[in-house]
Amino acid sequence: MKSPLNALVIIIVVSNFYLLSSSRLRALIRMAAVQGLILGLLPFFTQVRDFSGHTVVIGAGGLILKGLVIPLLLFRALRGVEEYRERKPHVGYTLSIIAGIGITTIAFWIGGMVPQSSVFPHPSVISLAISMAATGLFLIIARTEALTQIIGYLVLENAIYGFGVSLPSAQSLIVEMGVLLDLLVGIFIMGVVIAHINREFDSINTDMLEELKE
C-alpha cells in the first residue's frame, strides 16, 4: 500500500507549491479545496491496518469540511470584495518558490531521520506535515491579503490533520470531530471578520491594519 500513499503525498506537496506561487485569491481557495480533498483520502491509506468506522468518519469529515464546506465559506467571504489577487506580498513569488523548495527539502530531511516504527508508521506523512505547517506559517507571514492568511491557517490545520491521521493511535471520535468543528467555526468567524475589514477599509489588505502598531 506504499505507492498510492506516496502519490497522495506528492500531490499535496505540489499543491503546496501552487499555493506559494499563485496570487489569485479564488485560485488559492480552489487549490486549498483540492488539498483538503486529498487529505480526506489520507486516513484510508494510513490506517489500513486498524481500519474501522472511525477511519471512515474522520476521512469523510475531513473530505466534506476541508474539501467542500470551508472553501464555500471562503468563496462567500469574498463576495463584495474587489480584490481578486494579492497585490503587495511581503515576499515575492520567485522568492516564495525558492523558500518552498527549502521548506520541502528540510521537511523531508527531518522526516527521513524519523525511524519507521510502530509509533510513527508513516515517516513520509510526517515530512509532509512538517512541510505543510511551514508552508502555512510562511503564507501567514509573507502575504498581506487577509484571505491568503486564512488559507495559510488552513494549510497549517491541514498539516495537523495529516499528522494526526498518520498516527496509529486513534483519538476518541469526540475529540477529532470537536477539532474539525472548531476549525469550521474558526474559518466562519474569520470570514465574518473579512467582511468587516472590507466594509471599514474598502480592502482586505492587512497592511491597512496599522493603527495599533508601536
Binding site: 492568511q149 491557517y153 490545520e157 476518541s172 470537536g178 468543528l181 474569520m190 496599522e210
Partner: protein
C-alpha cells in the same frame, strides 16, 4: 460517598452558562440581556460554593464517563473564573449604561453581547472541567473563537484590527498546542495505555513515569509555545496589548483576570506529566522560568512608554503572567506562590480595568497624559485605580506583595539567585514606571471640573469587594485557603503520587 451529587455539580457548572446563552435568544431588553449574565454568574457562584463545601479536598469528581472531572486545582480556577465573571457582569451594567440610554447599545446588540459572554464563560468552565486533554484543547480554542467576537463589540477600525490579530495569532499558537497533545497521545500509546486512556489526564498522571521522555520533551515545547501564546507569555504576547485595549472594559477584565490564567492552567496540567516522563530533571520547569523572566523583562521595557491606560494595564498582565510562570518554574513553594498570585492578580487587575474604564469614560479618553487629578474628579473610581495599581506593583499590605514575597522566598530557599535578580530588576522597573503613571493619572489639578456623583451603590460594592479581597489576602490567609492552595500545588508538583525517581516507575 455516592457519585451522583459530584456529577451533578459538574453538569450544573457547565449547564448554567449554556442556559444563559439560550436565555439570550428571548426578546429581552438591553438591560435584561446584560442581567442574564449577572444571574448566570450568581447561580454559578452558588454551585462553586456548594462544591467547595461538599467535596473533601483530595477527592476527585468525575462525570460523563471520566471525560470531565474536578479536582482542587480545577475547582480553584473555576472559583476564580466565576468570581471575575460575577464582578464583570455587574460592572458591564455600569459600563454600557450610557450606551443603553443613548440607544447606541441596542437590545439586539446587548443580547448578542450577553450570549457570547455566557458562551465564553461556558467554554472557560469547559477548559477547567476537561479530563480528556483533547477536549481541553477544543474548549480553549472555543474560548478564542468566541471571545474574538467580544473584542469587536463596537465595530471600530482599531477593534477589528485587534480582533484579527488575536484570532490569527491565538489560533496558530493553539494549533501548536494540538501537535503537543498528539505527541502526548503517541507517547501514551507507546507506553501501552489503552486508546481510551491515552488522553485522559487522570490516567496519564497515575503512570506518567512510563511515558517516553524524549517525545514528552518535544510535546512540552509545543504545549508551552501553544498555550503560552494564549496565556500572553512573551515573545508570543503581541496580540495581548491590542486585544486588551480595544475590547470593552468588562471583556478586558475577564481576558486579563482569567483567560490568561486558564491558558496557564493548561500548562500546569502538562507540567507534572512531562516532568515525570523526563525523570524529574527539571527541564520543563527551566523552560517555564525562561519564558517567565522574558515576559517580565518585556513588560519592564514597554510599560514606561505606554500612553494608553488600558495598554499599560495589558503590559502589566504580561508581567504578572511572567511572574506566575516563574513561580511554576521554580517549583515547590514557588508553585504555591504562583497559584496564590493567580488569584491576587485577577482581583487587582479586574479592579484596575474597571476603574480605568470608568475614568476613560469620565475624561473622554484613554490617553493617560490627558487624565489628571482622577482622585478629586471621581473619588470612587480614581482612588480605586490608584489602589489597584499600587497593589499590582506589589506594595504591602496588599495580597500581591504577599505572593511575590513567597516567590522571592522560594528562589532564595532553592538558591536560584540569577532568576531572582532578573525578576527583581524587572519588578523594580515596573514599580517605578507604573507608580509614575498612577500618580500622574490620580493626582494633580484636574483638567475638567468635578461633576456630580457619577457612581451608583453597585459600583461602590464592586470596588469595596475587590478592595477587601486584596487587603484580606494580604493581611491574613485563612487556614482552609492555605489547605486548598497546598493541595492544588501538590497536584501541579506531581506530589499527589509517589514517584520512583531513579527508574521513573510508578510504585
Amino acid at each position: 460517598m455516592s457519585a451522583l451529587p459530584g456529577e451533578l455539580i459538574i453538569y450544573a457548572l457547565l449547564f448554567i452558562p449554556l442556559a444563559g446563552v439560550l436565555a439570550c435568544c428571548l426578546p429581552l431588553s438591553a438591560r435584561a440581556g446584560l442581567r442574564t449574565s449577572a444571574a448566570v454568574a450568581v447561580c454559578e457562584s452558588a454551585i462553586v460554593t456548594a462544591a467547595f463545601l461538599t467535596r473533601p479536598l483530595s477527592h476527585r469528581i468525575f462525570a460523563l464517563d471520566n471525560i470531565l472531572f474536578l479536582d482542587t486545582l480545577s475547582l480553584y480556577h473555576v472559583a476564580l473564573v466565576t468570581l471575575v465573571f460575577l464582578a464583570s457582569s455587574f460592572y458591564s451594567l455600569t459600563f454600557f449604561k450610557d450606551g443603553i440610554e443613548r440607544g447606541t447599545f441596542t437590545p439586539q446588540r446587548a443580547r448578542r453581547f450577553a450570549m457570547i459572554w455566557n458562551g465564553f464563560f461556558a467554554a472557560l468552565i469547559g477548559v477547567l472541567c476537561a479530563n480528556n486533554l483533547g477536549l481541553l484543547w477544543i474548549c480553549l480554542e472555543t474560548t478564542t473563537l468566541v471571545s474574538a467576537l467580544l473584542i469587536m463589540t463596537d465595530g471600530q477600525r482599531a477593534s477589528i484590527e485587534a480582533m484579527w490579530k488575536y484570532l490569527l495569532l491565538c489560533s496558530v499558537g493553539i494549533a501548536f498546542a494540538f501537535v503537543g497533545t498528539l505527541l502526548l497521545s503517541v507517547a501514551a500509546r507507546n507506553a501501552s495505555f489503552s486508546p481510551q486512556e491515552s488522553l485522559l489526564w487522570t490516567a496519564l498522571y497515575e503512570r506518567a513515569g512510563l511515558l517516553d521522555g524524549r517525545i514528552m520533551c518535544a510535546a512540552f515545547i509545543f504545549i508551552l509555545v501553544g498555550f503560552g501564546t494564549k496565556a500572553g507569555l512573551a515573545p508570543m504576547h503581541t496580540w495581548l496589548p491590542d486585544a486588551h485595549s480595544q475590547a470593552p472594559t468588562p471583556v478586558s477584565a475577564v481576558f486579563s483576570g482569567v483567560m490568561l490564567s486558564c491558558a496557564l492552567y493548561c500548562i500546569m496540567r502538562y507540567l507534572p506529566l512531562c516532568e515525570a516522563a523526563m525523570g524529574m530533571t527539571g527541564k520543563a520547569h527551566a523552560m517555564l522560568v525562561v519564558f517567565g523572566l522574558f515576559s517580565i523583562l518585556v513588560a519592564a521595557v514597554f510599560i514606561p512608554a505606554q500612553k494608553n491606560i488600558k495598554r499599560f494595564l495589558a503590559y502589566s498582565s504580561v508581567e504578572h503572567i511572567g511572574i506566575i510562570a516563574l513561580g511554576l518554574g521554580l517549583g515547590g513553594l514557588g508553585t504555591f506562590a504562583a497559584l496564590f498570585h493567580t488569584f491576587n492578580h485577577s482581583v487587582s487587575k479586574m479592579l484596575a480595568f474597571f476603574s480605568a474604564g470608568r475614568l476613560a469614560h469620565r475624561f473622554g479618553t484613554y490617553d493617560m497624559t490627558a487624565i489628571k487629578g482622577a482622585v478629586t474628579t471621581d473619588p470612587l473610581w480614581g482612588s480605586a485605580f490608584f489602589t489597584a495599581v499600587i497593589a499590582l506593583i506589589g506594595v504591602a499590605p496588599f495580597s500581591i506583595f504577599m505572593s511575590e514575597f513567597q516567590l522571592v522566598k522560594a528562589s532564595v530557599d532553592t538558591a536560584r539567585f540569577a532568576p531572582l535578580a532578573v525578576f527583581l530588576f524587572g519588578a523594580i522597573v515596573v514599580f517605578v514606571s507604573a507608580l509614575r503613571h498612577a500618580i500622574a493619572v490620580s493626582f494633580g489639578s484636574p483638567l475638567s471640573p468635578a461633576k456630580a456623583r457619577e457612581w451608583s451603590i453597585r459600583d461602590a460594592i464592586i470596588v469595596a469587594g475587590c478592595g477587601c479581597l486584596m487587603l484580606a489576602c494580604g493581611l491574613f490567609v485563612p487556614r482552609w485557603y492555605v489547605a486548598v492552595l497546598t493541595n492544588a500545588s501538590n497536584i501541579v508538583e506531581g506530589a499527589g503520587h509517589l514517584w520512583d525517581a531513579t527508574g521513573g516507575n510508578f510504585r
